[in-house]
Symmetry: C2
Subunit: 289 residues, 2 copies
């Protein structure tokens, strides 16, 4: 099944409106934080930056995207990217992407979020939703959290239970499958370590795109419900230098994963994506021992 233009416009609109809702929610957290003692009271906001992708042969436009970045007192760095790109895959990419082996034509739109928090008590968050169209069409995405220190049992329990509830509403088989997919994907073989506490991860899940799109919307909405709650519950705890140092070391694993294994990063680099948008995920401060 392929989506016609009206559907694709709806997907783009949903990603844009989700981006706006997330940015509003995060700005509210930042600006209601009593730790922000700057006088005159400083308001933290997302800064937006548009980028354009060079058109491939036979296309009037290569598309582009908008990067939104905020650096505050709660969010050490949070980035939310939306993008819609189109063109032709390279010969090498055509072999890897379903439905691209003949002409290599593709269209892809998505939203991608990574939040690195000042507090080591709040896990780093990653959320990504995407729609890809070649001669085939499919959705993919996921949500996962990366805690820095071992206090995260309660967070993990609530997080997975909320994800399960949302998944179960759509299909009782989703949660188990997508949780395993997430655990397998966010894994660092060279360290024999999981990147974080898991979550859900999925790609090309079902033939019924309308049904998938409803699921995709709920994944976005559940993220917007879960993560701000985790932040608000943990943002006022004081941390030690040792706990902060642990977080910086844990972020090193995050960098290792993204540069060595992440398919999104590789996809971006291989399709001439915007470097700033691709590396938005990299933490603001990192340490290696």
């Amino acid at each position: 099944m392929n989506y016609h233009v009206d559907n694709i416009k709806n997907i783009e609109l949903f990603f844009k409106s989700l981006r706006n809702d997330i940015c509003n929610s995060f700005e509210n957290i930042e600006n209601s934080n009593p730790n922000n003692k700057n006088k005159p009271h400083k308001t933290f906001n997302f800064k937006r930056k548009k980028w354009k992708r060079k058109a491939d042969k036979g296309f009037a436009s290569g598309g582009g995207g908008v990067i939104s970045i905020m650096k505050g007192k709660v969010f050490e760095k949070v980035g939310v990217n939306i993008s819609s790109v189109q063109g032709r895959f390279s010969t090498e990419m055509r072999k890897k992407i379903p439905g691209a082996n003949k002409t290599g034509k593709f269209y892809a739109t998505g939203i991608s979020l990574v939040a690195h928090m000042h507090s080591p008590f709040i896990p780093a968050a990653h959320m990504n939703l995407r729609f890809i169209h070649t001669t085939k069409s499919w959705f993919g995405g996921g949500i996962d959290l990366t805690p820095a220190i071992g206090n995260a049992k309660i967070i993990k329990k609530h997080f997975h239970s909320d994800l399960k509830q949302m998944c179960d509403y759509h299909n009782p088989s989703y949660y188990k499958r997508f949780k395993e997919w997430c655990d397998n994907y966010f894994y660092l073989p060279h360290r024999e370590e999981a990147r974080g506490m898991g979550g859900i991860f999925f790609d090309n899940i079902d033939k019924d795109l309308d049904k998938n799109f409803l699921f995709i919307q709920d994944v976005g909405k559940v993220f917007l419900q879960i993560f701000p709650e985790i932040i608000k519950k943990n943002m006022h705890k004081r941390w030690t230098n040792e706990q902060k140092e642990k977080q910086l070391i844990k972020r090193g694993r995050y960098v290792e994963f993204n540069l060595l294994y992440d398919r999104g990063t590789a996809f971006g680099l291989q399709t001439g994506g915007n470097i700033e948008a691709i590396f938005m995920s990299l933490p603001p401060n990192v340490s290696w021992l």
Copy 2:
């Protein structure tokens, strides 16, 4: 031409003695630094750590190595690794490594050094020398520097002139070839940026291994002459927070290069090397914007 056991022992001995000379030189710099105002006077030393590689099928030992790390007031983090490993390459590696396509048997020994300095006025340094033996035998290696801020013109001029003089002594064609090789190798295509100010880089340079070994020894010795001089000339300059921040950002490029492109890192990860030794090169503190 292949080397017999006596020659290989000599190579290992040279790498070990070079490691000792470098560590002594760097410890002397650290402990004669008047900025070290700790009372009672704290002495900085390299900490050593041995590691063993798991033996591959048909080998009594997989070999191993020794990591030497120092964190001081001049050297933010400097690591010097020596290793000698043996075994059988994986099927995938056999296609890439000269002379390994039949049995996959290999022996490799080397020294590898990366220094990240507190002062943004002192470039990060990288030096690597290696000998690899399959059904063929060859040397490879290089030296290169990565300055953080744009003050490095004088350093660059002296550095390249010293390298040229040393290379010319062995072969008038070396410097030009190995400088270009270095510029091509230490390049980040996704940023269209050089990693640093270049240096020399070479692999499998000549059939005459005895002659190569003399060159390899001189590369090690010239590093031991050049880098401490650069440090001593620049270690007392005061830097600003902005200059330090620039250095941390520049280090991000270093991480990107090592995880996305470096063949040494890939070789280590694919041959079951020691993770701590492979990632010794990663900077202690890094920032991404």
